[in-house]
Each structure stands twice: as structure tokens, then as C-alpha cells.
Point group: C2
Chain length 270, copies 2
Amino acid sequence: MRFLKLVLEYDGSGFHGFQKQTGTGLRTVQEVLENALKNLTGEEIQVHGAGRTDAGVHALGQVVHFATSASIPASRFPAALNGCLPPDLVVLRAEEVDPSFHARYSALAKKYCYVVWNQEKPSALLRNYCFHYPVPLDAGLMSKGAAFFEGVHDFRSFSASGSSAKTTTRHLFSFKVQRKRGFVVFTVTADGFLYKMVRLMVGTLLEVGRGKLLPEAVREILETRRRGLGGPAAPPQGLYLVRVYYPGDYIDDRDLWEIESSPYFSLLFS
Amino acid sequence: MRFLKLVLEYDGSGFHGFQKQTGTGLRTVQEVLENALKNLTGEEIQVHGAGRTDAGVHALGQVVHFATSASIPASRFPAALNGCLPPDLVVLRAEEVDPSFHARYSALAKKYCYVVWNQEKPSALLRNYCFHYPVPLDAGLMSKGAAFFEGVHDFRSFSASGSSAKTTTRHLFSFKVQRKRGFVVFTVTADGFLYKMVRLMVGTLLEVGRGKLLPEAVREILETRRRGLGGPAAPPQGLYLVRVYYPGDYIDDRDLWEIESSPYFSLLFS
């Protein structure tokens, strides 16, 4: 038995999220990937993902692992598997890992990015890849608000019910807000995220950016440990799982567009 | 009767081209736009487009004109009409024009852009917005080849049959090839284009870029005035109608990413 780790890019527009939903007939990343692995190896393979992205959420660096008896070398796995996958799901890299590696439990941190299209007119070409927010936003105020999220906090106020997490305390390493031409890009790295946490934090920062909340409201809402006090969750199509960090990876907090190997973002925000 | 000019952005992925195909049931830009105009004004309006983009081809600045009796001010037309349009077709601007204005016949020039994703691995997120070409390309050789297209030439060798054009001579003002990170971007401006001309020119330059043709082959193929000697037409999803120029507009040949007002490209290649 061998153990493989894959790094995936996908366009979330056509998927009902990452996690398999047996019996529903809904197309999910896990199911499409497991079907392709069966076609390639002949085996019934169960994959384990680093994070369960919701319907419409994209990934530039989702990570999965699985066990296989197939002898295909890791270096040839991406091309072989991409031949069995639809074009909205691509394997970027593959490597053999230790049996102790687990895509989810070995992860030290994850980086998400949220992209807001902050212009009056919507964009036809970017409609599934950004959240169109026509009200002018003050990136400086949002940066001030975002700073209150950094550090170790109980993020219960910024979680949705339905999470199975044992604790709602997380260590948030970095939360940057930057204007790039007509866009506002939120980049956040933490040791883990609660259900809908990024979208709820961004939704609250948007209220700060338009002047409906003060930046200090972020700290106050965090301290209440009560849901529903911040802004509504920002919609899924602006959200990207950018990278999952494992032991040995360097966790930096430089800006997304300076570091990401992902071609998509290196283009978008160069 | 008033005459209005609209500037449109659309995602070509979901359209069978610009032109209405009556009785086929195929979704086209013209048909969707005319239906929205009917919903908004109650009138049967026929729109006239500057160029007939093929299925899969995108537009950042397609132009149409039409006559209407509706009294909606031009400044409020985009928002009103966008409310009747699907999200993959957006009206960016509207202005009242003289009865003598014709989106196609008044046009002095058009600018197209072709985007190649020149990396080994495909991109899930960009699959409908670039042509994935994994073979390494030499942008310097392609620039040399592109220069032979500039000027007044008979472009018959770079046209597909099925064109209704009276003459195959065109004035090509500028043809730039530039590498932007993992991408190669072709930007071409001319007083008009024959059917499939941009895609046939790009297809030939790709053969130059990979070393299968010399840059000088472009001049030789032009001179034969015979079809089928260059590379195959590049596929539609990499092509964008960027801008249509009319009397009074300044036709420059600066690089696309320095000039375009289009938010999409100002982001993509900033």
C-alpha cells in the first residue's frame, strides 16, 4: 500500500462543495475525484480532504490524501489522473507521503482568499469568481477591523451552527485587506477555520468598509461569543482555498500576490 | 425615435456566438439582448452589433446600436437593462447617438486580445478564459512574426471561407505579443477583421513560437493569398473583443494592460 498526497485546483461553480453527498445525485469534488481514481486504478479509493469547501467555493491548493496499490509513480500521477477528470478539477501536484500523513489532521494552517469586485457595474466574466459589491469600501477601515481578528481568539461569534468542531478557539496568524484596482482582496491564514468563518468575518468587514460598523465592533462582537451580531456571510463565489500548510512548509504572512505559486492568482493580482 | 449605443461585456462560454440564429433554439447574445429589450421597453427591437463573435468568444467592449421609442434616459439604461439580463451579459455603458451612427459601419477599428495559458498543467479556473498550450513558446520569435502582419495586406490566407467580405485587404495597425508570467497575450488592432482572422493569425504565431515555423513564414503565407498554409485556428475561448473605435476615439497602440478601461483586463494583466 502506498499513500499519496494531491494538490488540487477547482472551479467551485459546478460543484455542490467538496464533500461527497451519497444518494443525493449532487456533483461534488470528492465524488468526481474518487470516480476518476477508480477509472485510473480500478480501486475503490476514499480520499480525505484538508477542508470541506462549500458549494461555489474555489480552490487553488486543496489537499487530499489516499491509499492505493497502484504502481503509477507520483510524478506521473497528475497527468494520468487529469486525463480522467473533467476540466473544472485539475491535479496540480502529487507526492508520496508517509502513512502517518493526513490531509486534514496533519495540516498546520490554511490560507483563504476572498475577492470582492468593488465597482458599480457587475462583471459578466467574473460573476462566478468574485462577490460584486457596488457600495464604495474603505480598505483602511477594513484593515483596522481585520487586525482585531489576528491572534488567539474564541471565534464562536463568527461560526455557523452545524460545525462539529470541539473548540471554537483558533489561532489566526494574519488577516490582510488590500485594494487592487477595482478589487478588494482579503487574505487570511489561521491554524484552522470554523464553518463559514471566513465568509462571516468578511461579511462583517464589509459592514465596516461601508461605514455601518466601526472597526472596533469586530473586537466587541468577538468578545460576546454570540452568533448573528456581525454582517451576513459573504457569498461563496468570492472565496478561494489558496493553500494548506504542513510540517516543513514555511508559513509566511506576505501578501498573497507576492508568494503564491498558483498561476491563477499570480495572474489575477500581479 | 431615439438611437442608443450600448457597450457590452459578456462571457462567451454560454453563448452560441453573437448573431441570432432564428429557429435553432441556440442561445445567442443578440437574442438574449433583444428579449431583455422587449421586457424593458415592450418594443420589438432589433440590435446591430459591431462584430459577430463566434461561440465561446468573449467581449469586454462589444458595441451595439438600436432604435427605440422608450423614454428611459441613456444614463439609466445600463442598470435598467442589466436587471432584465442574465449575469453572463452586462451592459457597461449606454449613450444616445445620431441616427447616422451604425455599430458596424461607423467603426474605424477593433481591438482583439488572445490569451494563451502557457504552462504545463491546465487551469481549472481559467479553462474557459484562455487557451492552454503546454509547449514552451518563444515570445520574441512570435513578436517578430507578428510584425509581418502589421500594415496594409491582403489577409486572404488568414481568413476562413464563409466570410461575406467584399475585399480581403485590411489595415492592421498593431500586433503585440507579450509574456505576462505564465501567460502569452496577443493584442491586435485593425480597421476590420475577416472571419476567424485573429484565431488563424494566432494559430500561426503559435507554430512560430514553438519553433515549427520561422517568423518569416508569416510574410510568405500572407503573400501566397492561399488558405490552409498556416497553423490551425486557435480555439475560441482565448479570444476577447476588447474595444471598438469610432470617429472621435483615440486609437493608440499601447499595450492592452496600460490602457483598457475594462476592469476584467485591468485586473488580469495589471
